[in-house]
């Protein structure tokens, strides 16, 4: 494993800076559709700066786990961000197993986030953690199957290899396996980023929350890290969806001109996906909590069909 330092630094900066912008873009687009003026797209940066400046209030019932959680969640999200090819291939970090390691990293982050929800012993945090675990138990297999479909098509579990193998095969977009896996992954994306119809990132109603309930007890610097990590995780999933299923326009190496072009393509793909997500949020109500597994079950079935059709229509 040889690490390209330029690529590493560049992608770290890209992940850190692009992720709040993506959150801001989604919030802003949503507001526009609802006839509201809405926040500026860079509002999340101001929020992060504000949180970093604020003091923290920590429950007297909290243990050391509570303090460890933001660091672990932030680190896993950033590492996941370094593994996904965004504007250029290969991605700077290529851990063993590729896709498997990515799913593992996300799961580790989620596990600690759930611990953070439980640790201070507040009722809302416990509810959030329990709901998150219920949902991820179904979302995770669907995500793995969808990624494996792409992995088999690309002949590797290394994410950069998959993307490189797919580049230039435009005809693949119409294959059933591709479409089905994309659909499954899109549903997983909605669940994992806490979007309507699974969760509502904009609500103030503690009783209905999932992700927000787990981080209710956090404030100040820790909250900033968790919010930032959530944005990075969102970028990871968006990037995964964008580049696994639309593998073109990525720069083959760190040449400035090619990277600039790659960034342009990345921006186009992210905006396209953001518009799709916003449209889903805009036109849907939240599902009853016990209906969410049905939706994710559908994602799982779609992913399974994708995998099967890969062999059937080969």
């Amino acid at each position: 494993m040889n690490i390209d330092i330029t690529s590493l630094i560049a992608q770290t900066a890209l992940v850190l800076l692009l992720s709040p912008l993506l959150s801001g873009l989604i919030a802003s687009l949503k507001a526009k559709l609802q006839n509201r003026r809405g926040p500026r797209v860079w509002q999340p940066f101001f929020d992060l700066i504000k949180f970093f400046r604020k003091d923290m209030v920590i429950s007297e019932h909290a243990s050391g786990v509570f303090a460890a959680v933001p660091h672990v969640v932030f680190a896993t999200a950033l590492m996941a961000g370094l593994m996904v090819p965004l504007a250029w291939v290969p991605a700077p970090l290529q851990l063993f197993g590729g896709a498997l390691a990515l799913v593992g990293l996300l799961a580790l982050g989620r596990f600690f986030l759930a611990l953070g929800g439980l640790d201070p012993g507040s009722a809302f945090g416990g509810m959030g953690s329990s709901r998150e675990m219920t949902i991820s138990a179904i979302a995770e297999p669907a995500m793995m199957l969808a990624i494996f479909t792409a992995a088999i098509a690309g002949g590797s579990t290394n994410l950069s290899q998959i993307v490189m193998a797919g580049d230039g095969h435009a005809g693949r977009f119409l294959e059933p396996a591709h479409t089905l896996a994309f659909s499954a992954m899109f549903i997983v994306l909605l669940a994992e980023t806490g979007r309507v119809p699974v969760d509502n990132p904009a609500t103030h109603l503690e009783l209905t929350m999932i992700h927000e309930a787990m981080i209710l007890e956090y404030s100040g610097r820790y909250l900033a890290m968790l919010e930032w990590a959530a944005s990075m995780k969102q970028l990871v999933l968006f990037g995964l969806l964008a580049n696994l299923f639309f593998p073109f326009g990525l720069a083959p190496g760190m040449l400035p001109a090619a990277v600039a072009q790659g960034m342009g393509w990345l921006a186009i793909k992210l905006v396209g996906l953001a518009v799709a997500v916003v449209l889903v949020e805009f036109t849907n109500a939240k599902l009853r909590l016990f209906r969410v597994p049905d939706l994710l079950g559908a994602a799982f079935v779609l992913a399974t069909l994708a995998l099967v059709s890969l062999f059937l229509f080969r």
Binding site: A123, F282, L287
Partner: protein, 541 residues
């Protein structure tokens, strides 16, 4: 018009009410010591306190009455007794029977009616807390209107000074009932909430997500409003009544004015009655539209809410154009209304109605065609008609659970007997039906305002209400947007009040929430709560 015997009732008494009174007088010969009928639809009976239970059962079973309110008055100086009043509404005949029970000044006690009429549970406990009248046989006699950290005082007694300062909290805080079992957790919510709402504590006992039991605790913002009325001149009471519950300001003020006007025996000019009706319906409009949007927000269908907010804003701006205040504050006054609607204002109001009619249709269509929202609202938070009847649920929530009552139709006040409208009633009692009642009432409100504008009488804006004679009693009532609002007054010398009882529909409806949430999952609570949308301030007073 008082008659101490039981033979002759005033000929002015409504026929149905007179028949009921004659039957009662016959059955309780000798036990009803005095009958007083100050108005055709309002009769006072003085009865022996031991007969309260029997009277209640007869009124319920034979006369289709319901106990709409129970309250007390400290009359130790004038009558050497504590008085307990029980207001029975005879909806079918459009009249009220008020039973007055005199209790001894030392250690007053009365048999509780709660086990027979669960609807008065909180009201009886309120009497117990505020007056120190023991309610014997109450199934849950713990403190309600005054929290456990209050010292043992009874602030509604006359010898309690309004300006008294009490020692700080000592002793034990409230203990909630414990719910035990494997996997049962307590989820405390409040009293301070995340939204911009008032305080109330909800303690859920849950097994996983399903709710097993919900305990409510209110009265965090008790302001002593009823006591405050006793310190004010009657005309100033209108402004106080306006602020009892912010979203029902005009309805509360009007109910207070009704009570005082009835006590004074004043006739209200036709134009004032019409303008009051328009304002009551405007209040209903903006609240119903906002609630429909808010219900959609609580299932994360924000799109519908954004449209609803836009419509609500349009109504509020019209309110400001008409009365100078977005929430119709300052419009109500004794004897009529403060401001007239000139041709320009009437034009603006007609314009609003035309626009609203179309745009509200669009909003209804957006919600109706949205299967995700319907799935969330139907079968959620069911309040069965039986439970609703037992708890005496009123207003929107009652009509969604099969209780076909509306003061505007059953006890027509203001201009309501001169307009045509229907009262929507559903029997399913879920969130969807509470939304549907609001939806239909918006259409009805638009129609009522149109009809009133078409018939708008000319003439003076108000009758002057001079000093109200002392020692008169009167009940004022209004169908507010949330449900029936009662103000009962007892006048005192010097244009003041000896007692003003305020009953907001929220006080009656809060216990319904504990029943409607059973069998639902905890993330559905906010939308169930929103579908009732009860007032904290109106309850706590």
């Amino acid at each position: 018009m008082s008659s101490s015997g039981s033979k002759s009732f005033s000929a002015a008494l409504k026929p149905g009410l007179r028949r009921a009174m004659e039957a009662l007088a016959k059955q309780f010969r000798g036990r009803i010591t005095r009958v007083d009928a100050p108005r055709p639809d309002e009769v006072y009976l003085d009865a022996d306190p031991v007969m309260a239970g029997a009277l209640c059962s007869t009124l319920y079973k034979k006369h289709g009455a319901r106990l709409a309110g129970v309250f007390a008055e400290d009359a130790r100086t004038s009558e050497r007794a504590f008085l307990v009043y029980q207001i029975y509404a005879l909806d079918a005949v459009g009249g009220f029977v008020v039973v007055r029970l005199a209790l001894p000044p030392e250690d007053p006690a009365l048999a509780s009616l709660t086990s027979a009429v669960p609807a008065v549970n909180w009201q009886e406990r309120e009497i117990q807390d505020w007056f120190g009248i023991r309610l014997l046989g109450h199934s849950n006699p713990r403190r309600c209107a005054m929290h456990d950290d209050w010292p043992p005082v009874h602030p509604m007694r006359k010898d309690f000074d309004l300006r008294a300062t009490l020692p700080p909290f000592r002793g034990e805080r409230h203990k909630f009932r414990e719910v035990e079992g494997e996997g049962v957790f307590q989820v405390p919510v409040g009293p301070v909430h995340a939204g911009i709402i008032e305080p109330g504590h909800f303690l859920f006992s849950v097994a996983g997500e399903p709710v097993l039991y919900l305990q409510l605790r209110l009265f965090y913002v008790h302001k002593g409003t009823e006591k405050l009325f006793e310190s004010l001149l009657i005309p100033h009471g209108v402004r106080l009544a306006e602020s009892i519950s912010g979203d029902s300001g005009f309805a509360h003020a009007t109910a207070f004015c009704h009570a005082v006007e009835r006590a004074a025996g004043v006739e209200i000019p036709a134009r004032a009655r019409a303008l009051r009706t328009i304002c009551l319906e405007l209040e209903r409009l903006y609240n119903h539209v906002a609630d429909i949007g808010a219900i959609c927000t609580d299932v994360a269908f924000v799109t519908a809410n954004m449209h609803a907010m836009r419509l609500k804003e349009r109504v509020l701006r019209t309110n400001e154009h008409l009365t100078g205040n977005r929430l119709l504050r300052g419009m109500a006054c004794l004897g009529g209304v403060r401001f007239d609607f000139d041709a320009g204002r009437i034009g603006a109001l007609s314009g609003l109605l035309d626009e609203l009619g179309n745009e509200f249709n669009d909003l209804v269509e957006i919600i109706r065609s949205h299967s995700g929202t319907r799935d969330r609202l139907e079968t959620t938070g069911v309040l069965s008609p039986k439970v609703a009847r037992d708890l005496g649920i009123v207003g929107v929530a009652g009509r969604a659970s099969g209780i076909d009552r509306d003061m505007r139709r059953d006890f027509p006040h203001d201009f309501y007997d001169e307009v045509q409208f229907t009262v929507p009633v559903f029997s399913e009692g879920d969130v969807q039906r509470r939304l549907a009642v609001r939806r239909e009432e918006v259409y009805q409100a638009i129609s009522i305002i149109r009809q009133t504008l078409n018939k708008l009488p000319d003439g003076p804006l108000r009758t002057e209400v001079r000093e109200v004679p002392p020692d008169r009693v009167a009940l004022g009532f209004v169908e507010g947007w949330r449900g029936e609002i009662f103000h009962w007054v007892h006048t005192a010398p010097g244009n003041r009040l000896a007692r003003c009882k305020v009953k907001d529909p929220s006080l009656q409806n809060w216990p319904a929430l504990s029943e409607a949430i059973l069998g639902n999952i905890i993330p559905d609570f906010p939308v169930v709560n929103k579908s009732f949308n009860l007032s904290y301030s109106g309850t706590d007073r």
